[in-house]
């Protein structure tokens, strides 16, 4: 429709509606000359919990969408940390945080369905459901278990003997695999063992350096270990090592996720 015609029609329609309202409106008495006052409870400004976000440990779960895909209900979410950055470090990626949801329960009008998140870097929970399942039956989602990325950094002593092994707790061990004294240096290979855990990553779980200025550098071995280089032919006894390790520790929970405003795609 041409724009002038649209404007003309609009003017006439608006005028007609306004006139009709004036005619039909009851002749009510004037409002009293007072101001209405409403008092609302104090709501502190909140950086870390917006509406429909749920705190899990030191992070907040931000619901994304709920969908039905190939016989599974998929709950996609985001995680944002309410914890402080390590001093001196800035990471643009919010997902590098210390909490990983793992096990869930889908609550419906017809019952409960268990679900899981597959890895620490997967930001979705999947719930297998039967044919004919309707998203409208979903009444809530409960987080049953999550992991915390717990750092342990410390010094330890180890005898300079191939085969030596140190227990690190939580079924983890550090073993001296190879000790190779050379004319001007010593090479030490260490292997880190931990329970098989497909949920968490392994590549950066443990790094070891030598304590002292003689230890030049460390390289990470391909299979969960470290190779250390030390200046000089002497092998110190004991070896004093500095360990930096990450344990993804499981925690049980019963946290109801706020699904308000979620996109049910």
């Amino acid at each position: 429709m041409p724009r002038p015609l649209v404007i003309a029609v609009g003017l006439l329609t608006g005028a007609a509606l306004a006139a009709t309202g004036i005619v039909l409106a009851p002749n009510s008495p004037p409002e009293p000359d007072i101001a209405a006052t409403t008092t609302v409870p104090a709501v502190p400004q909140s950086w870390w919990v917006d509406p429909h976000e749920t705190i899990v440990a030191s992070s907040a779960v931000v619901p994304g969408e709920l969908s039905l895909e190939d016989g599974e209900v998929v709950f996609r979410y985001d995680l944002v940390s309410i914890g402080p950055m390590m001093r001196g470090f800035v990471f643009e990626d919010d997902h590098l945080i210390g909490v990983a949801p793992e096990t869930w329960t889908l609550l419906t009008t017809d019952g409960e369905y268990p679900g899981t998140t597959s890895t620490i870097t997967s930001f979705e929970a999947r719930f297998p459901v039967e044919d004919g399942f309707l998203l409208e039956s979903v009444t809530g989602i409960r987080l049953d278990g999550y992991r915390l990325r717990i750092p342990y950094t410390y010094h330890l002593e180890m005898p300079p003997t191939e085969g030596a092994q140190v227990e690190l707790g939580d079924d983890r061990t550090l073993a001296l695999v190879t000790l190779l004294p050379q004319a001007t240096s010593v090479v030490v290979q260490l292997r880190f063992s931990q329970p098989d855990d497909p949920f968490s990553t392994h590549s950066t779980d443990m790094t070891v350096t030598g304590v002292g200025a003689e230890w030049l550098r460390t390289t990470n071995l391909q299979i969960s270990g470290s190779e250390l280089f030390r200046i000089g032919p002497d092998v110190p006894d004991p070896l004093v090592l500095r360990v930096h390790s990450i344990y993804w520790i499981p925690y049980q929970a019963a946290i109801d996720i706020d699904l308000g405003g979620i996109d049910r795609g």
């Binding site: 008092t39 104090a42 400004q45």
Partner: protein
């Protein structure tokens, strides 16, 4: 298909996917919306306004309320900043909670989670600076912490090491924060510009007295150079902390430059002791606080096998100094909500 077909066509497959709904919301990147028929709406409103204005002018005698305003009064929060349940405030903007206790054969570790108050922007604020801790046992003993371990990717978590073994979970009464770290840093340098040194060509070592051997840092802390020796094959620097604060600790990372005023400057590779976690992004370590009051640095020639001997040279020491002093704190953290693990051996 997208609501806006043009937007779909213009969207590059290389355009990053906005995965964070919070960031998308904060950035206002919810995508384009279509607004159909704006002229019709504007015209309707204009028509209605004209008629209503005429009605008001024609009915001047009708009493019109002088105020229909609604006033909303917001009560002020009196309880201060808010923290999640279970967290104990350690100052006005941060709180902390014990989440795990690991009792091993060599030590006991207590892991804590820190969070900011709800009034703090987590992206622009400085995190937990480190502290001094006591592990309080039920028999009255207090074990002082020796090390704080953190990880750059585990935001807000710190594991504190206590040198105590052979205890059970029930032996731990609480964890007490007894000092809150204040971290400071500076760069100081000293040179021998007025008194060049000549390194013996036979490789023997000479002792150098820098122009300045004591640097007042701050907060009652001073850095003292106790020894500086150099030869053509390398150098050695011993340092210690001095001053009024016996609890201050530091980390020192010096660099050495030699210059004869004519040839290119000669630089050094520095090795420090106590050794730090020398990975690419963490030259001063992954522990929150440096833990020593004295240390050493060793200088290896960067170009070639040796420094030049037999030639008068100026030595310049530039030292990055990071030091920590502890302010008073008296916060007791319960451990009843923590998980306990006692390792075998």
């Amino acid at each position: 298909m997208a609501d806006d077909p043009l937007h779909e066509l213009l969207t590059s497959p290389l355009e990053p996917v906005q995965r964070s709904s919070r960031r998308a919301r904060d950035a206002g990147t919810s995508g384009p919306t279509r607004t159909g028929g704006p002229w019709l709406v504007v015209a309707m409103v204009a028509g209605a306004a004209i008629v209503f204005a005429g009605y008001l002018l024609a009915d001047e005698n009708t009493p019109v309320p002088t105020s229909l305003a609604t006033t909303t009064t917001m009560t002020l929060a009196e309880s201060g900043p808010g923290f999640p349940d279970g967290f104990t405030p350690i100052d006005g903007h941060m709180a902390i909670r014990v989440v795990r206790v690991l009792i091993r054969g060599d030590a006991t570790f207590v892991t804590m989670s820190t969070v900011f108050a709800d009034t703090v922007d987590t992206e622009t604020s400085v995190g937990f600076p480190g502290g001094r801790w006591d592990l309080v046992l039920t028999d009255g003993r207090r074990i002082t912490s020796t090390f704080e371990g953190v990880d750059a990717l585990s935001r807000g978590y710190v594991s504190v090491r206590f040198e105590v073994t052979g205890i059970a979970a029930d032996d731990i009464a609480s964890v007490a924060l007894t000092g809150l770290a204040e971290r400071l840093s500076n760069v100081v340098d000293t040179s021998q510009a007025a008194d060049p040194v000549t390194l013996p060509e036979d490789g023997s070592e000479i002792v150098i007295i820098p122009a300045t051997t004591r640097f007042d840092l701050d907060a009652g802390v001073a850095l003292a150079i106790d020894e500086f020796a150099l030869s053509t094959t390398g150098g050695r620097l011993l340092w210690s902390l001095d001053g009024d604060d016996p609890d201050a600790v530091a980390a020192v990372f010096p660099t050495l430059t030699l210059s004869n005023g004519e040839d290119p400057d000669q630089f050094s590779i520095t090795r420090i002791d106590p050794g730090e976690f020398r990975f690419s992004f963490a030259t001063l370590g992954l522990g929150l606080s440096p833990s020593t009051r004295a240390g050493a640095a060793y200088f290896d020639p960067q170009q070639g096998a040796t420094f030049t001997g037999g030639v008068p040279m100026t030595t310049n020491l530039e030292m990055e100094v990071a030091w920590v002093v502890f302010g008073p704190a008296d916060v007791t953290l319960p451990v009843d909500t923590a998980s306990f693990t006692v390792a075998a051996g």
